[in-house]
Point group: D2
Chain length 160, copies 4
Amino acid sequence: MDDLAAPPLHVSRWFNGDASLSLEILLGRPVFLHAFQMLCPGCVQHAVPQSQKVAEAFARSDLAVVGLHTVFEHHAVMGPEALEVYLHENRIRYPVGVDAYRDGDPARHPLPLTMAAYAMRGTPTLILIDRKGRLRVQHFGGVDDLRLGAEIATLLAEPA
Amino acid sequence: MDDLAAPPLHVSRWFNGDASLSLEILLGRPVFLHAFQMLCPGCVQHAVPQSQKVAEAFARSDLAVVGLHTVFEHHAVMGPEALEVYLHENRIRYPVGVDAYRDGDPARHPLPLTMAAYAMRGTPTLILIDRKGRLRVQHFGGVDDLRLGAEIATLLAEPA
Amino acid sequence: MDDLAAPPLHVSRWFNGDASLSLEILLGRPVFLHAFQMLCPGCVQHAVPQSQKVAEAFARSDLAVVGLHTVFEHHAVMGPEALEVYLHENRIRYPVGVDAYRDGDPARHPLPLTMAAYAMRGTPTLILIDRKGRLRVQHFGGVDDLRLGAEIATLLAEPA
Amino acid sequence: MDDLAAPPLHVSRWFNGDASLSLEILLGRPVFLHAFQMLCPGCVQHAVPQSQKVAEAFARSDLAVVGLHTVFEHHAVMGPEALEVYLHENRIRYPVGVDAYRDGDPARHPLPLTMAAYAMRGTPTLILIDRKGRLRVQHFGGVDDLRLGAEIATLLAEPA
């Protein structure tokens, strides 16, 4: 297996999870990480509902589902207070982190750190990390339910 | 015909339209008015895309399509700056008004004025106003495309 | 109005209706006529379910809904016995006619008579006939619910 | 593993495959077997299109996709000639077998043999058989793409 270790998450604030959440803590379980922006139409209409479906379809003890708010534009109107309302209105219960900015300053460094570390091309981006913390799948844009289900199960089938 | 005149719109700011826009100016054409909040899931996933479909299906000279941002909760994160981004990201080109608050003060008067005047029960709400300015149809929640198409055409068929 | 009178229906057998059914009898009401073949995928997956939706959305006293089985290929396996099962399994309750063949002989004259009279290009074909029996709309292939609803309502709005 | 061996297929005729096709020949690959009737609405509108999607999503060398025409009612109008037209019109390219009847006589034995051997409750039924020929999953009615993708991948992940 030549896949690289998934870069660590740089999160300035977690919703639905405590501050210590990290990929290290999740080792042993595959991780479904979905990066989104709350005002990105493709995220709101497709990727977030699909992620919620993933969260319902697999037990938390089998698969970790984590959201990442990777705001790279229009920062002023997609801050943590707005995200909190978005998560509440959409009844999202799994942990969602706010991707952090260099020096905590999106005005000077608009591309958030985790988004840069994964070389994401935009939102939505869907990522699968295996039990050993290796980055295995990264999709920019939409992916079909049938294929996503298969990709998740492939990682679930691997030994711990 | 016993329908009442549609209450006037109380708008503090128009996007994609000039400040003089009003129901009076639109007299002569049926009006499809859709009230929404930019963080209401049913609006974002169903009613707004449907309204955009209406805007594409009928000529502007036949049917006026107007959005109304009726924010009655979480005002801080659904202000005009956030709405502007939402409209841009979703490529909404028809006029959208910000429903106004009594004394311009949503903290003291959270229910906006037009929403109150129409006795809307929440968002999304879809409204049809006829050529003569009478309120003819008001739906809270979703309505099927087939039925909505028929309701619009019924008003279009009426003489000017 | 320059539209021509809709050609009469040539039906060898009616299901869910009696033998006297004709466009003449339906004068006074708009008619939604949908031509299909029971083994045409676009019919089975889209046009027939849409027609059933139309039948549910409008009162029979307002709009006549009529199906027409226009078999122009594979006649042996789409005969009236097979159609009867299809209508039963799909719970289609409105009248459906079997489009007739010249000399009652599809082997020699495979294109059925009504299909030829309307110059249909294939299946599915959706047709709207107004209260006065004039052919007003003819779609080959799919049409959107919003547009179809509007087209039906336009005919409903015309005086008897 | 306590799963039982999948019962053999009793097929009177294969389309898109030769007469020697059997579960034994497919050992080594997981098998996705979908049982349907060509005039069952749930099959035609959901299960068959989903099966075609499965056939496109996975390589034939990884997963065997097999259809089974399990006609237990209306035998006269769902015979092999009608099925052949159905497969052609729907562009189904993977092997589809006609489930056989005891004494080749559906009039006396209407429930076909494979359907009985699997104790299927109706159509559509979706079945997954693992590399070793064991029956692992059997769904009556619809199943979600996400779950189906996961179930298939679980079997794919098992060693040969």
